[in-house]
């Protein structure tokens, strides 16, 4: 039987030597009597690719909404990119990029027009060069003049990522980015995420169900269960701890089952 303690790799070393781009303590969100997220304490180091796992309705999207300042926490505190999520929401937003689940953009506008609009809202006065640069990075230049409504889901995903990174954020939040993609699209997205992290140094915080992709992409994983964080550790430590399990899927199910016990 696995111990129910949460292991956080940051406790093993002097935390002050790392910079945490996400640092939250006892973050809670309640809707009336329903507790969506309960006492979430979590640190994500700069440069990590953090995979946030959990069952449907576990509170993953609520967590991301709080970290991206879209939702006011009921209690608790937190900082993203060094700014308080409750009192410095605008500062946080300058440092983050966000791609929600089932990426939606303005269908009647072209890819370029969408990017131009969101860039200007991000404070980029003349985004032209940056737009083309990100479109090149994502292999989407030839789609710039096409309306979003005409693009495939995979390409819309890329344009969605482009709007999220165009202002060079420190942290990129991705909510179920592989949702609805075919295997080829999933691989392409994985490559993009790895390149964003390796080449641009962006920290990635990713909600996902696709455990196969977590093993290929993430450096650290966290597991949320009914609003409570029940597990956090690096992927390598996790694989060592659960060496009896064949795959991350089995590890995840074991963690979830132990929580329920």
């Amino acid at each position: 039987m696995v111990e129910k303690t949460i292991v956080n790799s940051s406790t093993k070393e002097d935390s002050s030597s790392f910079s945490f781009v996400i640092d939250v303590h006892n973050l809670t969100k309640k809707y009336g009597d329903f507790v969506a997220v309960k006492d979430l304490t979590l640190q994500v180091k700069e440069g990590e690719i953090f995979g946030f796992l959990g069952h449907n309705g576990a509170g993953k999207t609520t967590t991301i909404n709080m970290l991206t300042t879209l939702l006011e926490p009921t209690s608790g505190s937190g900082k993203v990119a060094g700014h308080d999520i409750r009192t410095k929401a605008l500062e946080v937003r300058k440092e983050i990029g966000y791609l929600p689940e089932n990426v939606q953009l303005y269908d009647s506008m072209t890819a370029y027009e969408n990017l131009e609009y969101f860039s200007k809202l991000s404070g980029i006065k003349k985004p032209d060069t940056k737009i083309w640069k990100e479109l090149d990075f994502l292999g989407a230049r030839s789609y710039a003049d096409q309306k979003i409504g005409e693009l495939s889901k995979g390409m819309r995903q890329r344009i969605g990522i482009a709007q999220a990174i165009i202002h060079e954020p420190k942290v990129l939040f991705l909510d179920e980015p592989t949702s609805g993609l075919d295997p080829f699209g999933v691989k392409q997205l994985r490559d993009i995420i790895l390149r964003l992290n390796a080449e641009k140094g962006i920290t990635i915080f990713m909600n996902t169900h696709l455990l196969q992709e977590v093993t290929k992409t993430c450096s650290t994983i966290g597991v949320l269960n009914h609003g409570s964080l029940i597990y956090v550790d690096s992927l390598s430590n996790t694989m060592k701890r659960f060496k009896d399990e064949q795959s991350l899927e089995e590890i995840y199910l074991t963690i979830e089952n132990n929580k329920e016990e």
Binding site: T61, N65, T68, T69, L70, L71, L90, E91, R93, K94, I96, G97, Y98, L99, P100, E101, N102, Q104, L105, Y106, D107, S108, M109, Y117, F118, K120, L121, S122, G123, G160, Q163, A164, F173
Partner: protein
Amino acid sequence: MRSFFIAKNEIQHLFRERTFFLMLTVFILISLTSTYIGWASQHTVESVYQESVITLQSLGKTVPPSPFSNLPPLEIVKNMIIYVVLIGSLLAITIGHSIGTKDQRAGVVRILFSKPLTKKEFLIGKALSLGLVLFAILMVSLIISAISVAILSQMSIVLLLQLIEFYVVSFFYMLGFGFLGLGFGLMKRNSAIALLTPIVIWVVITFALPEMSSALYPTSSLNPILPQTEILNSPVLSAIHNVFYPFSVSEHYRVLSSGILNLQETTDTIYSNYSPIICAFILAAWVIITSGVLTYSMSKFDISRGDIYE
């Protein structure tokens, strides 16, 4: 600055919507035909009077003076008052609704607010786009009316200023409805309910309140010249009038507009209208109250919403 980008984006989007063009076309067509209809009916009626004079003279009866002599030059524009009340306000609601629901329909709310954008900037941008579009539409209508009056009647600087003043008042009347369309578009989770709610309010203001406050028949309030009505002079009806009349914004708009255009008295009931100054004050209150609704709607606007609604 962000508000400006939002406003620009809204206007660009609006001009890609078919329903907006449909309503705009109806309004422009009506503006075009309004002065012509006014002129044609005035011209015909004068001819009818002349024919009636011939008949009266042949019967040896005294000829009453023409009720159409000394008609003000802007008489032919009088129908625009009704069309602003009917089409203009509904157009404003539609535009407001379209602007208010656009981001939710596109599902981009979360992306928008993941940028350093405040709710205040967002709202100002939306309101600004609404105001600019209404302004542009009324400018076009003003130009059409001015040219039509110049051709069919007579035009002078004074008359032009009266026309401009009328359109300014019309702008604020329509703006109030636009705020309602925008506000409910932001507040409500269902796009169709967001449209229906201001329409219900519009029906109440345009038909129900005038009826309750003046005991007129509802379709009578659509006519620039109202038939005499049999009004029961009773304490109960007077009390109903006193309660509802202050809220009858469409009536005050009509009275104020008629005064600006120097048109003849357009109501004929036992209840007298408020003075133009009070009407103007009530219209100002209308704009303030509806902008209050709009501001309140923003507090209800959930920026963490991800679902696309219908």
